[in-house]
Amino acid sequence: MAKYFLIIFIIAATFRFWQLTSYPVSLTMDEVAIGYGSYSLLHTGRDDWGNILPIAFKSVGDYKPPVNFYLNIPSIFFFYLSEFAVRFPVALLGTLTSLIFIIFLRRLGLSKSAALFGGFWLAILPWHVHYSRYGLEAITALYFLIAGVACWLTALSKKSYFWMALAIINFSLSVWAYHSNRLFVPLLVSFLIIYQHSQLKYIFQNTKKLCSLIIILLIFAGPFLYLTFFSEVIKQRAAMTSILREQSLLLTLHNGNYSSLSQRIFDNDLYLIFHHWLGKYTNYFDLRFWFWKALDFSPPGYPDSGLFYLVDLPLLVSGIFILLKSKNKFLKSLTLFWLFIGPLASSFTMNEQHTLRTLVWLPFFGIVIAMGLHRFKYFYFAFLLLNIFFVKDLYTKSLPRYFSEYWQYGFKQAAVYACEHKDEYDRIIISPTFGSLGPLLTGIPDYYVLFYCKYPPQKYMFTKKIDKFDFTRVDWRNQLQMHDKALLISAKWDYPLVTAPEENVIKRIDYLNESPAFYFVTTQNK
């Protein structure tokens, strides 16, 4: 068994660590914010807002879950503040998830071969690999979720307090790690308690050990409940992403002003909200989304990758069939629970078919597909390589070329150049607004500068200013009148041709589709 674990670990690691810093093409805003926050924690014990060891990290516009910030500290300690350091912990946890998933499947009663295949399936799964490669919290949360269920099932089979304590810790960390899990994990644990209450009786037999379990639970749940009910941290995020903010829904609501009784009955707000939500929920039950077009590696209308490889489709059908015939009632009920509850949290939020927020749904597919291999193994392995090459090609060619600007490509280059030439200028202005089709996107170049210049957190956390830097839209004519030497870094929209002479442009960065991203303009001629 150890041999297979090692092989799957190597495969999973290869998929996640191969050119980790090159694909995706740039660190996202979240990655640089988390990376710099961890760097700040490592050196000062405070986040970049000056809070001592916070349990919720204030960021631009919202609060981020704390787990990844703390996980990044050792990585930044060993690899310094670098792109690899930021992506390493999640890539590693993504790799380990494949191994944990094998144990999870074994605990659920799947055969050894099915469980090993499940681990292999997850090791190469495009949905999971993609998100493991850019430091996202959902992967961390999924790791703890799967580990939690595995520990829970081990605890029940061994009647062990130790494993139950580990289950509590893992479930809690999952809740702390990502927003979607805040809804899913409590529902899952409730399901497990209700379904397996008779097997849980053993924990009441030893009062001391029961108390220690309760204390562990309170240590994790207490602060979370406090944040939920007495602060804005959880509420703000929920409110920001709620479907109740969607314009398409808001325009239809009456806000209590009904023109007639029949309208109050048949067109009431409650029904409209329910109808809107259900539309989002049912969107997730879509084979095309699962197997053909989900991950947005190419523009709309182009061939794309689904959440799974196309070769997984017959395995899913076959797996459902085998599951239905299975005599393992718990497995059937748990899988059905996961099928219906998996997309629930993401259906309450804005965006159609959100692939990241639905990551908690993954184990459902893993269970079913792992069961379905038996009948289609020759077919599966015959076509797998073709599927892998197809997705790899989209991932390494199409995604960078069509979407580099959406990955904030260019901010790194801008930040690095600005830091290297900082002494040559009196002021440096970087515009947060960019985009190849117009000034349509907004980023946080501040964090890219902090990250790539390794700006001392002690200097930044209380002032929220970086020496010489300003982050605002560039007004070329006003800047000229300042009579100092400034470096302006901005998209072409800020330099109308009539006012920005070509000789003032000292550098240009292009997106990977070759359209101009940022112009570097000095207010004094070279």
């Binding site: 009955i265 048949f266 259900l278 090459f389």
Partner: protein
């Protein structure tokens, strides 16, 4: 409750069942023009934008110029066939029947063609059909899907037989959950009332 009675009750409380019958002349017109629709659809498929996109990915866009063996293996007309297969499957997408409808007179906006509460039972019904390997039923379902797919029109006039089959599948899923049946029927009456209200207001 017997399965037949339950099926009839669910059918009668499905708004689009009535709407298709009320607009029978339009429904028949769609069926009458089916051969022309099929021919027009085949023509449009042969000029699909998707084929251009496949070529673009094979050449990796205007500036990269690669047309190596791997590119040709990965990006060819097989992708178009798979894309069409998924288009075909879209005719069975539950959202069309349980929520959004086709936006025509057969399912006005906001009105559920079939009660949305039946959706989870539809999934359970599908699982039961798979479990019992009801091949005839699956073939029949696929056949009606194919007729609508061939016409390229996703409207409930052509999909009416599938709508009825979906109500039947939901009945299979619901029959063992007796406690929920009254709730589903009451909700069915509610959306039927909404149907009348929308038609008259």
């Amino acid at each position: 409750m017997k399965i037949k009675i339950l099926f009839i009750l669910l059918l009668l409380t499905s708004p689009s069942f009535w709407l298709v019958l009320v607009h029978l002349p339009q429904t028949l017109s769609y069926w009458q023009h089916l051969p022309q629709s099929v021919v027009a659809n085949i023509k449009s498929k042969s000029q699909s934008q998707y084929l251009i996109y496949i070529d673009e990915l094979r050449w990796a866009g205007r500036s990269f110029h690669r047309n190596d063996l791997l590119s040709r293996v990965l990006y060819n007309k097989t992708l178009f066939v798979i894309q069409e297969s998924f288009d075909f499957i879209q005719y069975a997408q539950p959202k069309l029947y349980f929520l959004a409808g086709d936006g025509s007179v057969f399912s006005p906006r906001r009105l559920e063609p079939i009660s949305s509460l039946l959706f989870p039972f539809w999934i359970l019904g599908i699982l039961e059909i798979l479990k019992n390997r009801r091949a005839f039923f699956m073939i029949l379902y696929s056949l009606f899907m194919f007729i609508a797919y061939a016409s390229g029109q996703k409207n409930l006039a052509l999909l009416f037989p599938i709508l009825i089959l979906n109500v039947y599948i939901s009945t299979l899923g619901l029959k063992d959950h007796r406690r929920v049946i009254p709730l589903v029927l009451i909700y069915g009456l509610y959306i039927s009332g909404m149907n009348i209200w929308l038609s008259t207001s």
